[in-house]
Symmetry: C2
Subunit: 255 residues, 2 copies
């Protein structure tokens, strides 16, 4: 019992925040990796200051962009409030990387050799309330809504520069992703691609499947190269761009 109490104390911070009004708008936005916050009792997971602020800890720029999208689309946004290095809310407990002991370039000492009870505790205190919040917002939706998950990726990965600027990803229903790509190609401003820099086989479409496909909702995961959104100004501009893309793509698919 003492052990369980200690876990509760360690993770006693909210897992999610909601922006905008549930029940309004044609979209529900989800940003799993919005925050780099590590609860203080976790002792920073043994990470360096640089690692704690790096893309390993969160999707740089994604929250500001998602907040702007929420305003533009007049639709609610659910944002994660805990670093993915503590628990990655876009992964089930079975995924080997839901509590990563190593990211691309950083070891995560506080995640090594965790007991099953510790892993379960993080799941219970982070994954469960986060996804319960997504469920609650989707339950409040009026009529058919579109689920959009919002992520960012690094310009360089394993020493290779990435040329793609925007990726539209899907789990198995790729209608909306394809319509978004068509819009991008017509507008011609961004280097966009389907299923880049990741795809469903990398295990990144957990939230899409869990909340979108399970309800039969149109859905898409958006990945933006983070050098394009790493200030509020840039995130605002990209949010405006994506809002226009999503509205046009929605029309194309549903008309």
């Amino acid at each position: 019992m003492a052990r369980i109490e200690q876990h509760i104390d360690t993770w006693g911070w909210p897992a999610a925040a909601v922006y905008g009004q549930p029940g309004q708008g044609g979209f529900v936005l989800v940003c799993e990796h919005a925050s780099s916050f590590i609860p203080p009792n976790a002792d920073g997971l043994g990470l360096s200051a640089a690692a704690k602020l790096s893309h390993a800890a969160w999707d740089i720029g994604a929250l500001d962009m998602a907040k702007r999208l929420s305003v533009r689309l007049k639709s609610p946004l659910i944002a994660g409030e805990i670093s993915r290095l503590v628990y990655d809310c876009n992964r089930p407990l079975e995924a080997p990387d839901c509590i990563p002991a190593r990211s691309e370039i950083y070891d995560v000492p506080g995640n090594k050799d965790l007991s099953a009870a510790s892993r379960q505790s993080r799941f219970d205190h982070i994954h469960t309330p986060f996804h319960d919040t997504v469920t609650r917002v989707l339950d409040a939706a009026v009529g058919e809504v579109i689920l959009v998950t919002i992520h960012s990726f690094t310009p360089v990965y394993n020493d290779l520069p990435r040329v793609t600027e925007l990726g539209y990803l899907s789990h198995s229903d790729d209608r909306l992703a394809r319509a978004c790509l068509t819009q991008e190609q017509e507008r011609g401003r961004m280097k966009a691609a389907l299923d880049e820099p990741y795809s469903a086989t990398d295990g990144v479409t957990y939230s899409l499947q869990k909340h979108g496909e399970a309800r039969g909702l149109l859905n898409v995961m958006i990945e933006v190269r983070n050098d394009l959104i790493d200030t509020p100004h840039k995130a605002q501009a990209m949010g405006d761009h994506l809002a226009a893309t999503l509205i046009a793509a929605q029309k194309e698919v549903t008309s």
Copy 2:
């Protein structure tokens, strides 16, 4: 029309975030000054980098403490997402300091000589959606809830150190504030006082009156000296302390 469009563009960021589940818990928590965020199109209101991060822009530590309280009390929290220097959500549009042209030590160039239309625009895009969110969360409450607004204050003001650590403030119904003070005195850990360092006559109880007294809810405004909550660790400890105080005070008043 072009002018109005420009205002909408300037303030096109969400005004509030909700933590926890509306409809659960015996409290509703409000943190008006949670964020130092200034929308990028406002050009930082002409402020220095120091001013933008100072207590003038937000209540340092208040959000982390309020988030912890939300978890401890299993009750929802509404937090402001825009700096009070853009619009102070704890003030009506009639208040001279709702868009301050000068704080304690900083001039705010971007707030000088604003037109009535600009003031109205900030009110419409920040105050209105923030308070609509508070209303929506209160409407979702089941049974009687207690309204608690959460603030912090500087250890030094106009060159004078402040000895008080915690202030419990009220508008006209001081039952809960008095019960909180009684609890603090019994526990003896904190230097607590009623109506310190401000009181209703300073115009700081706008939200209490608008949402608490107007609905006949028990309510209190909590002010914490910000040196006691300026890290997540300290904010966590103070959140735990205040949760115990509020639960005991609630019992005292309602039994």
